[in-house]
Symmetry: C2
Amino acid sequence: MKKLIATFCFTFAFVLLFAQQQATWIWYPGDFEVWLSNDMQNRRTERGTFFPPFWKMDSHYVLVEFHKEFDVPADEEIHIVAEGKYNVKVDGKMLPGMPKTVQLKKGKQKINIKVYNQAQVPALYVHGKTVSTDKEWLATFEDKEWIDETGKASDASGTTYVKAGYWNFDKPDQFPSQFRLPIRAEASVAMTKQAKGTLVDFGKNTFGFLTLHQLKGNGKLSIYYGESKEEALGTATCETLDYLDIQHAATKDSTLDLSKAFRYVYIEHEDGITFDNVSMQYEYLPVEDRGAFRSSDEELNKIWEVAKYTMELTSREFYIDGIKRDRWIWSGDAYQSYAMNYYLGFDSETVKRTILALRGKEPTITHINTIMDYTFYWFLSIYDYYQYTGDKEFIEAVYPRMQSLMEFCLGRRNQNGLMEGLSGDWVFIDWADGLSKKGEVSFEQLLFCRSLETMALCADLLQEQDDKVLYAKEAASLKAKIFDYYWNPAKNAFVHSRIDGVQTDNVTRYTNMFAIFFDYMSKEQQQGIKSSVLLNDNVQKIMTPYMRYYELEALCVLGEKDFVMKEMKDYWGGMLKLGATTFWEEYNPAKSGADHYSMYGREFGKSLCHSWGASPIYLLGKYYLGVKPTAAGYQSYDIEPYLASQEWMEGKVPTPAGEIDLYVSKNKIKVQSPVGVGTLKIKSKSKPKSKQGAFIPVDKDTYTMALEAGVAYEVDYKSL
Amino acid sequence: MKKLIATFCFTFAFVLLFAQQQATWIWYPGDFEVWLSNDMQNRRTERGTFFPPFWKMDSHYVLVEFHKEFDVPADEEIHIVAEGKYNVKVDGKMLPGMPKTVQLKKGKQKINIKVYNQAQVPALYVHGKTVSTDKEWLATFEDKEWIDETGKASDASGTTYVKAGYWNFDKPDQFPSQFRLPIRAEASVAMTKQAKGTLVDFGKNTFGFLTLHQLKGNGKLSIYYGESKEEALGTATCETLDYLDIQHAATKDSTLDLSKAFRYVYIEHEDGITFDNVSMQYEYLPVEDRGAFRSSDEELNKIWEVAKYTMELTSREFYIDGIKRDRWIWSGDAYQSYAMNYYLGFDSETVKRTILALRGKEPTITHINTIMDYTFYWFLSIYDYYQYTGDKEFIEAVYPRMQSLMEFCLGRRNQNGLMEGLSGDWVFIDWADGLSKKGEVSFEQLLFCRSLETMALCADLLQEQDDKVLYAKEAASLKAKIFDYYWNPAKNAFVHSRIDGVQTDNVTRYTNMFAIFFDYMSKEQQQGIKSSVLLNDNVQKIMTPYMRYYELEALCVLGEKDFVMKEMKDYWGGMLKLGATTFWEEYNPAKSGADHYSMYGREFGKSLCHSWGASPIYLLGKYYLGVKPTAAGYQSYDIEPYLASQEWMEGKVPTPAGEIDLYVSKNKIKVQSPVGVGTLKIKSKSKPKSKQGAFIPVDKDTYTMALEAGVAYEVDYKSL
């Protein structure tokens, strides 16, 4: 393992060196993400009213110093562009004015540029032949460079410098503050007269800016948006709308300036207003099309495609929960988007942006999104990210913020060393009727424990030995408490909570299923939980795709892949049968008709395009195509394909270096990986055969074969 | 004392009630101050180059919720203006859109308005007959109003609400973000040809925007600013300049857009450019003219007038150090401006703004301005403010930020419980050759001790009993250490520092003189220090008006008012003899000619208009007119006039309720106060007489008389 990581770092360093040739806009790390997320999250409206988040939003540093040392091979001219006022020092000497170009002399020198901008993020772009802004520049928000009365600069400033933040703003006129997602025109599929107005159907749930073509006349025009037809026509209760006052003497194509989510749009207007067509500007995040899944099962393929589209719509400036609402970044929701992303676009930049936006800035005074569990998912997301991408650089960058957030958590433990909701803490867990949040909830301790383990893993990775020991010790101590306090042998399950130090009687699925894929239990204990909790209908059922995701994952880990496949087809297939074009925030098969659309006490309160609805992408990629990394960045990985009710399946799973290609039928497997050392593990009635490698039996009917990068393997076997 | 404070609070509450009739713009407390101070402090340039501060600058909260409960006597319409996007809830019900007017029904109701603005401070103005924004509205930056899946709002949000911030933006179109100091046109007094250009003299040091009249032509024009003639003509070394590229086909009056400090302006330009006159737009903070001083001594009157003008120039959006540089807010400098202000404009709003701007926001990770002593002056300033103004409301508002800053300080103590410069801490004390900042410097402990006492006083005022006990205990313990560790009986003085636990041999003036007016010693000890330190020429002399202020104050306390008067006339009179029109950052009588203007290793580095140069205002008001409050807000006060070398003096000292008027000659005193209970204390060869009151002998040749508010007293006496 050690060796593999070392090799990988070397590869990475090489890529980095190469990347330095290009200039890119830089800023204080996390600041653009905070600024952009404020902007994005404050675009939500509810029935025309501005509807902002309720948690603390942070701000960028208004004054940032950037610097880097260079050994310039020959005299060169550099060009400077900044968002904000700035000054430039070359080797400690301040240059006059705010120079747009600077002549550098050959030789070693340090370039410092200080940028001030209160309204937007101070950002910097320097471009020369060898001297350009890149992620190796250092940044600080207080350089503490005071001088004494003789003019001598202080020599012990104690300033903390960190590596600059960056994304993909690689051109001088690509100002970060001007960032917008791209748009493309899309037509509606039907326009019909309904009641007093016009109903427009876009054929599927979508997101963007509505365009009214050849709009003319004077008077009021109302637009009611609906993710369902009922919602668009429900003018008194639909969630989003626009009331416009039109004053167009001449016809004009008019595009609204605030994006909305809709499949249907219902338009009413006063007499004298006319328009001839309605289209939209579809707004989207460009993500490479990398993950794929197809099988002999058309329903399953449809599930995968709709999940993919759901992911596409909810992957925006950041991973958001839903496109109608909340259009906010929720840590627990984003944690699932990350996981799906690893089996779809493998878009690391959006994962990093979202992690940074969620963390925000010091001081840490509340849980992320105010939710205790959401703080913990944030920790969990970081090691997952490393495991899939191998991007140690990001762990380094984010580690200080991990430390301070963990300090916040440790400081909130009660006298038993457990996390309990304090005033202002939202203990969420899941949307479920009557779910108790009182006392010391076992699920929170479990996530907290995993967070501490994550800290220990990251500390180890960064060779922070003292931290590693500290966090590992805290994790071990908490884990022991979880078993002591919550395991109930009679129930063969973890109970839900303790209140006043006494175990409650209640068993819920959450702690039990997470304990399984956290691998906290013996195989026997796991199987015990399977029957006493997961497959026990007396335990309260899960109604959200959000927790459904984890439940099904736990069952996959427990080998119940046929059962899970059936559930997946029932549950997600159930939404498809109801006409879903994107997956929902919640789905209760017992409901019927437009009842499906209500939530939060509102007729159309439910989001019909919710990122957590897209989890089949993850389940199919990880447990059916069966691909997962076993060392960071797919330096090693397992492929354990599983055909459930399907005749065959094929797909692609992205890695940092390209896609793993896989085809599986009942007697043929084809696989090729661009990276790492793989282990193909299959069940077969007889020993499988491949011209490209040799199988080793490991268990009854189970065989493994090592996979080398770049080799196209074909395997003949006999499915059980 | 108790009773007096109670009476005073009642008066204050009445004023408050009255003030509520008017609407005013509100914001999250401290946010406008942070935002405006960022803006102001980033206007400094050095030779045309942007020159920002080197400490952490904070930001406003981007999303703020404001609310207040009202009992509306009759249906009324309210008008809403906000800087930012907003929404409105009346009694928990969200109103549609972003309403500019709202119809309120008669009766009790709560109004919540949430404002978002990332570029500027979210600010709100509501105006109705009875419902208007005022300082009683509450604000928060995280309302934590989440709902559950049924739509039920959380009932334990744990949100902290604080009273809104405000200033004097009382009209709906007075947007806080548009704030500018007023300007007025002022003419130059002379224009002469010099070398290759034109030298313009404005007759005195001033601050504002230069105007070139009837400017025409194409080409380069350079403006060199000087607080001295030498500086303006020193084109290669002057501190501030403007290089302009003029393209004026027609003549045009042109005013520059960045204000500068100057008495002289030297202008050079290319052929073909013409202008016919040069004037300026003087930029100033409007402050009521309240304090006054005049005497038989014309030099002293001039000192007072020039000090007053120095204060006028350095009192701006905030109290800054100097007008040429740094144009920044320094806590140690501002602390002195506050004190002078109490004897001049009594402009409490500028004191509060400056205190809030200096404190900034959490997290507290560095000392104020990075300087340890400057953190302590910040604490000291707050109780002083209360003592002079009686404004308990501000103490309440700022107390949480005092607590967190003190927590920061307590956390930085070394193993001996003392403050020692850590990496990144600037131990300033004073500009003085070779002054050691190593180890545990006694001066820092003394200020720290006083800060702890201030915390205890404020805690007591706010009836935070536990805090009071805690801070008082820490203060007492530290005070004991100061005597144990630093008092050297052989030297009859506090030594400068301890290094590695060992007292150093060095005696400096700082600790010794502060210990006197902090009243930490017996009268005997004080007199000992007077001879062994303050009047001992072997102890390093003070060269800055900054520390001169405290030295002279200590000597005043020790009864050396004749000596101090002589020093004051020598030192400040010395600057006047050199033609000073404002007082300087530093003055060393041993220098000559343009040598006076150098500092920081730069030929014209010295600021010739520095707020700390204006201290005669304070000394004359407090120790010669002899007026000072003895209970908060002048509910009680002492007047102990002292004629030094003057035949007579007269003046006004502002109080929250008007000015105390005083005339003093060698045999006549006239005094009248609008407020409180005063004690007039005078020395006289025989018992003084007054028709309006009776004197009581208190000591040899010393008599006191009680003063009632509103009575014009005339006293006949015989000066010693």
